[in-house]
């Protein structure tokens, strides 16, 4: 993608966006399609999925067969550039040395951020998820309802392309007619599991993922998304025609050179660039939001990583979409006489209420899957999942934890990896080969993804002494799961064991008897949100329902930071829906001269 260098920066922009992932990409798209002049700052390097993605490489073409390593934690072919739970030159700290009180912070430093490698699971928050406090007295209600956000879920699904189905289940919203693309067929093992866990009352339904199972309707969708804006319609139609449908091969986490899945770099940024309204400056590490004499945001100071110089770019409006924790860090580092505790922090809530997703996994081996007749089961990652199915039991107080989880699972004859010998019987030669052939594809893994309730022990602040390579103070995390999360993780393990038994399988290892042993560390699931929550009361929140900071109305936070809760539904789709909604509101405010 042709990007600018710092020498080509214009004197001023309408809007500066910090970050180019889901929130930043969506913001850049919505604003530029409506004629707003935007500068997008990205802390990482330029990245071109069309030329850089390893689409058909097998592990035998990678160093060490592509295994997970400390510098490529999701394996060699994972799309992530300069990222992981540790990033070169950019440390963070934890206040505690205890493992259970540490937060793992994943970042990617590349154009498009984490959207290049994410799992593409695109589930809507439901009505309960926007009003959790009203439902069970825990956590915080959002200042708007599902009905307020639903139109934007529709828009985002139509724009990025999401496969899935409408099942009419409780708090698992249906999409409007014409939003979803058809779901792929379930695999053999998925159908088998569906049949056999039904007796446990556990539903298995098509999952929603941001992948084009068929080409998008470029003739009709653009007019629905941009009514009265023929130029935007034309640009989007052309961008949609450049995207191919999935060809049902290669792992989505590698990124997609045919643009069949959503990543900001293939879906949001190309049409935004085509408007001529977008400058993207990579290698620009934001330090702080700058203010004018009245205390309004007027730009962003950043380090040009190429030259090491600090530069300030100017704009009428600033949008932070740097990832929830990074945006909190920028606010905390934007100190001034007017804002001595960090920008937009009169409530004291910046850095508070950080949440990840509760994760726990259990696997097994299923004799029924042995010697399955050979056929291609690649597909496109997850095709089905188990939505949370115990809302009524939970409401009735029959469970000892307050919020739900969904279950993702993997079956099938997927591309072999270096662990293929696994638990094969001792021996060698023909018998060994036969043993591997028999059991290949018979292993399953269940992963729970559950809601965490915000708590006072999980937050971030600035480390008093540690700074990154550029001298910017780094985040220090404080972390603790409550009993709700620990009991939920235990319930996951117990449920997975029952499911494996229900399909006649053997559980690998022992199900945990203690949730603390089952739960993954905070940050491990990479769904961190919160840190600048929205609300109806400016004393208890950082932004209003349009992601506008109460203290600085021309400063928006369009990533996961304003989330009031972190439902089991993966956050990316909601980040995009809220960013689009916030930008629509912003455009109207700018038109009316309020900003």
């Amino acid at each position: 993608m042709p990007l600018i260098s710092e020498k080509e920066l214009k004197a001023s922009y309408d809007v500066i966006i910090v970050g180019s992932g889901a929130g930043g990409g969506q913001s850049a798209y919505t604003l530029t399609m409506n004629g707003v002049k935007v500068l997008l700052l990205e802390a990482g390097r330029n990245y071109d999925p069309l030329t850089e993605t390893a689409m058909f490489q097998t592990p035998s073409a990678a160093p060490l067969r592509g295994i997970s390593l400390e510098d490529k934690p999701f394996g060699f072919y994972d799309a992530t550039v300069d990222g992981g739970w540790q990033v070169p030159d950019e440390p963070y700290t934890n206040a505690s040395t205890e493992a259970e009180n540490k937060f793992w912070w994943w970042r990617a430093r590349m154009l498009g951020g984490r959207t290049n490698h994410w799992g593409r699971i695109s589930l809507r928050n439901g009505p309960y998820d926007f009003k959790p406090y009203s439902r069970d007295g825990l956590g915080v209600d959002w200042p708007m309802s599902y009905q307020d956000v639903a139109p934007y879920y529709d828009k985002v699904e139509m724009l990025i392309g999401v496969y899935g189905s409408n099942e009419g289940l409780e708090n698992t919203p249906d999409s409007s007619e014409g939003c979803l693309l058809p779901p792929p067929k379930a695999r053999a093992g998925e159908l088998y599991i569906k049949k056999h866990v039904a007796k446990l009352g556990i539903p298995v339904i098509p999952i929603h993922r941001a992948i084009l199972s068929v080409k998008q309707d470029a003739d009709n969708i653009p007019a629905k998304l941009h009514p009265g804006n023929p130029r935007a319609q034309g640009i989007l139609a052309e961008a949609m025609r450049q995207r191919a449908a999935c060809f049902w091969a290669t792992d989505c986490g590698r990124g997609c050179s045919i643009k069949a899945n959503y990543q900001s770099t293939t879906v949001h940024l190309p049409p935004a660039m085509a408007t001529g309204n977008l400058d993207i400056l990579p290698n620009a590490m934001a330090r702080a939001v700058t203010l004018d004499a009245q205390g309004k945001a007027n730009g962003v100071s950043f380090i040009d990583k190429v030259t090491g110089r600090e530069i300030t770019a100017k704009a009428r409006v600033v949008i932070l979409a740097a990832s929830s924790a990074e945006s909190a860090r920028i606010l905390l580092n934007s100190k001034s006489a007017k804002f001595p505790d960090g920008l937009a922090n009169s409530s004291g809530e910046v850095g508070k209420n950080i949440m990840d997703t509760v994760g726990a996994s259990l696997g097994g081996q299923v004799p029924a899957f042995e010697n399955l007749p050979v056929h291609n089961e690649d597909g496109a990652g997850d095709h089905v999942y188990v939505p949370w199915w115990l809302y009524k039991e939970q409401k009735a107080g029959k469970l000892d934890f307050a919020r739900g989880y969904h279950i993702e699972f993997a079956t099938g004859r997927r591309m072999p990896n270096v662990g293929v010998a696994g638990p094969a019987k001792p021996g060698y030669g023909k018998a060994f080969k036969e043993d591997l052939r028999r059991t290949y594809g018979s292993f399953i893994g269940f992963s729970g993804r559950g809601e965490m309730i915000p708590n006072k022990d999980s937050f971030c602040d600035l480390d008093p002494s540690v700074k990154d390579k550029w001298g910017i103070p780094v985040l220090r995390f404080h972390w603790k799961f409550s009993e709700h999360e620990l009991k939920q993780a235990l319930h996951m393990h117990q449920t997975f064991a029952r499911m494996i038994e229900a399909i006649g399988g053997k559980v690998g290892g022992k199900p945990a008897t203690d949730g603390a042993k089952a739960i993954k560390p905070g940050g491990f699931i990479i769904h961190e949100v919160g840190g600048a929550i929205m609300g109806a009361d400016r004393k208890r929140s950082v932004t209003n329902q349009w992601n506008q900071c109460w203290d600085v109305p021309n400063l928006l936070i369009n990533d996961g930071a304003p989330f009031c809760s972190n439902a089991d539904k993966n956050p990316t789709l909601t980040i995009m829906a809220l960013a689009w909604r916030a930008c629509d509101h912003l455009i109207e405010e700018m038109r009316q001269g309020n900003l």
């Binding site: 097998t58 490529k72 060699f76 053999a188 690649d378």
Partner: protein
């Protein structure tokens, strides 16, 4: 020998200790390996880094030097071929450079793979020493029955006698890597029954035979 020339000193301490323990155990129990075996090659090479070029083919030895001696490499090739004998018309693991992958693995600058180095190198030396003891030839020159006799002693299918017990771990790790190396090649994937990684216009789901197999037809 200065500290910087002492290869064992340049290894991460816990790897060096494990290597020495394995080597010592092998020597003591086999009773016929000399101290030259303790000359562990120097750890070298850089990690892959956080931004490698992804869409190119990498060969073992490209990113860091391979550390097996020529004799160890021959033994590794022969053992890989014994563990995973070729199908009719198929290539042997050694012809697919599976032993070079194992060399890449144990030679890497990553502790998580390099921890196999002492076990694998000592085990490969054991194979030749055992072959010399039994048949007055190196392992790679033995016939299949002779190689099998040695493998049977250490493969763990039946309890190993005390003299061979330290090599059971070697065989298990070597087999793990040989299978991992082989079944991640296109030939190995096909043999295992993996037929994906090819573009198709539609995803058709399970075949009628697969559904019948699972009682879902």
């Amino acid at each position: 020998m200065t500290p910087s020339e002492n290869p064992v000193r340049q290894m991460p301490r816990r790897i060096a200790l494990k290597w020495l323990a394995a080597a010592a155990a092998g020597m003591a129990l086999a009773g016929r390996l000399d101290l030259a075996m303790a000359q562990v090659p120097t750890k070298s090479g850089k990690p892959i880094g956080t931004d490698p070029v992804l869409n190119k083919d990498y060969k073992p030895g490209e990113l860091w030097p391979l550390l097996m001696s020529p004799a160890q490499r021959r033994a590794a090739a022969a053992l890989a071929d014994l563990i995973i004998p070729p199908e009719e018309g198929g290539l042997k693991p050694s012809q697919l450079a599976v032993h070079e992958f194992i060399d890449e693995w144990i030679s890497s600058p990553y502790d998580q793979t390099a921890k196999d180095r002492p076990v694998i190198l000592a085990g490969l030396d054991f194979l030749d020493a055992e072959a010399q003891q039994r048949h007055q030839a190196v392992f790679a020159e033995l016939n299949a029955a002779q190689q099998g006799g040695i493998a049977d002693a250490i493969c763990g299918a039946t309890p190993a006698t005390p003299a061979y017990r330290p090599q059971v771990r070697f065989f298990d790790r070597f087999r793990h890597l040989a299978a991992g190396g082989y079944y991640t090649t296109p030939q190995g994937m096909l043999e295992l029954g993996y037929v994906g990684n090819r573009p198709t216009a539609t995803f058709d789901g399970p075949t009628p035979e697969a559904l019948k197999h699972l009682g879902l037809a």
